[in-house]
């Protein structure tokens, strides 16, 4: 990959915190600009897992605080903040001047939107999800398997899986670290497309598997050519 220096990070929460810290602190790794998008304020209940923030940040905008931390970590780093949600109307515009996207969203609708937008924009997407004591991280290249090859569509009939969602701090720390490692590998010219990492903290297990492109994946088959809102209005989209 050439000039993969501009990274868009979707979400400055549990996953985004380690991703942002590690990419900002990585020095000569190739990341010279980070854009971070989030619409949330720091809440006391975030602090156990969202390591960008401390108790003094409660009530403040996450992206404002995140930008401050990143600039302290790496004064030469260019940081742009976007306060809001990653939504279909603006997704491809946001991606247009970035060479890859790292997703740390807390809902599946946004994860699918990031996957679709990245593919339509021709950029790699590094994605992850976590619940309680376990989670996964996936690297999707424009020509590799994608999130829709793995999980075919947004769950629309099992909202309890979202309602149950909660996560232990070290789990998002590990998975965010894995996402950052995938980014740095991409910047080194490696092609980890299709790598799916599974982490189970209770079992103490980290496994790597490979996702293959499904012949009936609508994204890989080119059937998805736009980001219509209705694709992402699922039970978990709140």
């Amino acid at each position: 990959m050439s000039a993969a220096h501009r990274v868009l990070v979707v979400g400055a929460g549990g996953l985004g915190s380690p991703v942002l810290r590690l990419l900002a602190a990585a020095g000569g790794s190739g990341v010279d600009h980070i854009t971070v998008i989030d619409d949330d304020m720091v809440d006391e209940s975030n602090l156990h897992r969202q390591t960008l923030y401390s108790s003094g940040d409660v009530g403040r905008s996450k992206i404002d605080r995140a930008a401050g931390v990143l600039r302290d970590l790496s004064p030469g780093l260019s940081v742009q903040t976007v306060e809001g949600r990653f939504v279909p109307d603006t997704a491809t515009d946001l991606l247009s001047d970035h060479t890859l996207v790292v997703e740390g969203a807390d809902n599946l609708a946004t994860k699918f939107l990031v996957a679709d937008a990245a593919r339509l924009s021709g950029v790699p997407a590094v994605q992850a999800g976590a619940v309680r004591w376990a989670g996964w991280a996936l690297c999707a290249l424009p020509d590799s398997a994608c999130l829709r090859c793995l999980f075919e569509d947004i769950p629309r009939d099992r909202i309890e899986t979202c309602a149950e969602a909660g996560v232990v701090g070290p789990v998002v720390g590990v998975l965010g670290g894995l996402e950052a490692a995938l980014v740095l590998r991409l910047l080194r010219g490696e092609r980890p497309g299709g790598e799916l990492w599974h982490y189970d903290a209770l079992k103490g297990a980290l496994r790597k598997t490979f996702v293959r492109r499904r012949s009936d994946c609508p994204l890989c088959a080119g059937e998805i050519q736009d980001l219509r809102m209705e694709r992402y209005t699922a039970a978990c989209a709140a």
Partner: protein
Amino acid sequence: MAVTVRIPTPLRTLTGGADEVSADGGTVAQVIENLETNHPGMKDRLCDDKGVRRFVNIYANDEDIRFLDNLETALKEGDTLSIVPAIAGGASR
């Protein structure tokens, strides 16, 4: 024949918290039926009337069963099934 089934955290409420269980069956479908017998509710979490739910992946020894014979994928003694559901990050806990 017995296989090992890795249970993801959202489904451990059905297995009394166990992260792995043993199940009998010569195919994935038979193992799911056996899981349902021993852990009621499991089949509904994994399958709908069309087969494996679209947001659930099942791996037989690290190979996605969609690239094998899906629910009819043959299993042998000692094989491992892994269930990987779509999960997002979430609220505090």
